[in-house]
């Protein structure tokens, strides 16, 4: 793998309370990020429920890298690079399908869905068949799962997935705990939103508790939602540094104060009686109530998976100033009444006529244009520095609108890029 990472003065570009604007605009920095972050750490790719049957496959990505996620007949999941080993055509083009083998459309080479080269037309053109053993599809060297979420790492060695996720494993555990079967399914399909902004504008915004009252005031008022108040100055909610660049807006203190099952989802148990009954049968009435009061996590898993209560956002950088966001509704396996509502809410907030993502995207693109200005050179991320504190588990937390998450992201970023940890 080429190592293009230039030796940039990371410690001079990233300070505890401010970051340099060139981090969002410099193509050399973007190239270095691909090598040191996207092609090295664990990156979320897809979910096992997207390839439920043997020989199912879906097209995925790791940053700009095109990836095929396939399930072989034994049930094992593979992450293959979607590049023909002959002259680099895309081997697969359909977003999903079922096939035990793939055939490149350019010159007809065939590959098994585990990546093995099966053959090529008119083989006398090659001296012997030694080629076959050498020219299997490229693969993502390490593949691992947590609660059915499939991650890939281009590094042959390094921290395990669970080491990388660290405290963020709790977000996945909390997410699947809300499902009456203990499993989620990503079967609602993916919307893709392209925006002209650097990927870190999105990463930093996902757990920014300072902007919702401004950027999202229209959806909060249209939906008569109380969510806006959770991100106010009086809120008891906290933002948290979970370590390894993972960050959280923890709204549970507010939800517990209100003590309304499903209040986090803006509904009541009577509206989804089957779901509530299933969850009570599984967890017992008391635990089910607690789980339904606490709600679903709001956690940004570094670098690309945002668990946003009932939706998932996947961040895919495609250029220094271009990012694609892939969005889907969370679905609980075996809970059709709840799933219908989660899908409807997702369409309302991030669908083609949705309010939420459109508002955020407008901010991302304005940010990217604003950061081109020559002065000031820096972005300030000092909010709440004076009131940072440790919670009972030893994590750094701040008030709901503080910039603890942004500082946490940059601290981890700097250590990955080669600055001081």
């Amino acid at each position: 793998m080429p190592s293009v990472a230039p030796h940039l003065p990371w410690d001079e570009l990233i300070e505890p309370g401010r970051v340099h604007g060139s981090l969002y605009t410099d193509p050399d920095i973007y190239a270095a990020e691909l090598e040191r972050i996207w092609y090295r750490t664990w990156v979320f790719v897809g979910h096992v429920s997207e390839v439920p049957e043997p020989n199912d496959y879906v097209l995925k990505s790791i940053g700009p890298q095109p990836v095929i996620m396939s399930r072989d007949r034994q049930g094992e999941i593979h992450l293959l690079l979607n590049r023909c080993t002959h002259r680099a055509n895309l081997v697969c083009d359909a977003p999903k399908g079922n096939s035990s083998a793939f055939r490149c459309p350019y010159h007809g080479w065939t590959f098994s869905n585990t990546g093995k080269l099966l053959g090529y037309p008119f083989n006398s053109g090659y001296d012997g068949t030694a080629l076959k053993a050498e020219l299997g599809l490229g693969r993502v060297p390490r593949v691992a799962q947590y609660q059915g979420f499939v991650f890939g790492s281009f590094a042959e060695e390094g921290p395990t997935l669970e080491e990388h996720l660290g405290a963020a494993t709790d977000a996945f555990d909390r997410l699947v705990r809300l499902s009456p079967t203990g499993e989620v399914e990503l079967t609602a399909g993916w919307l893709q939103h392209k925006c002209k902004a650097n990927w870190k504008m999105l990463l930093e915004n996902e757990t920014d508790g300072y902007h919702p009252q401004f950027v999202h005031s229209s959806i909060f008022s249209v939906a008569s939602s109380g969510i806006g108040d959770l991100y106010g100055d009086k809120s008891t909610a906290v933002c948290r540094d979970l370590g390894n660049g993972h960050t959280e807006n923890d709204l549970r203190p507010e939800f517990r104060r209100m003590d309304q099952p499903l209040g986090w989802f803006g509904t009541k148990p009577e509206k989804v009686p089957d779901y509530v009954a299933q969850l009570e049968a599984k967890l017992g009435a008391e635990t089910a109530r607690e789980v339904l009061v606490d709600g679903s996590p709001h956690v940004m898993v570094f670098p690309n998976l945002f668990i946003a209560e009932i939706q998932l956002f996947v961040i895919q950088p495609t250029a220094v100033d271009e990012t694609v966001q892939h969005v889907t509704a969370v679905q609980y396996k075996g809970a059709p009444d709840m799933n219908r509502r989660m899908l409807q809410q997702t369409i309302g907030s991030v669908g083609p006529a949705g309010f939420l993502l459109a508002d955020d995207s407008e901010m991302y693109e304005r940010n990217q244009r604003g950061v081109q200005a020559r002065s000031p050179e820096w972005l300030t991320i000092r909010r709440g520095m004076h009131r940072e504190r440790e919670d009972a588990d030893g994590f750094t937390v701040g008030d709901a609108t503080d910039e603890v998450p942004q500082r946490a992201i940059w601290k981890h970023y700097r250590s990955l890029m080669g600055g001081a940890a």
């Binding site: 439920p52 072989d72 007949r73 034994q74 697969c92 083009d93 359909a94 399908g97 079922n98 096939s99 035990s100 083998a101 793939f102 055939r103 007809g108 080479w109 065939t110 098994s112 093995k116 099966l118 053959g119 090529y120 037309p121 008119f122 083989n123 006398s124 053109g125």
Partner: protein
Amino acid sequence: MARGGRSGVGELSSEFASVHVSIDLEGNGPRLRVEDLRTGQVGFLDPLELETLAWLPEGALHRFLDPSLHRWRAES
């Protein structure tokens, strides 16, 4: 196409191939008729051959997916 269920003979397509399958009754017994819709090439499979397919181990057909084996065989 929605996931789930099973249907009778008809057309099956992926990004790699398009075939039409039907049950042919021209012979003394039924056969599955498979037509490659991209070329018009037709092949038949009798019940015993089909049963054998159902019992094939993983990847056994992959040998025949080598394009040089039949369809794009070199002249020499």
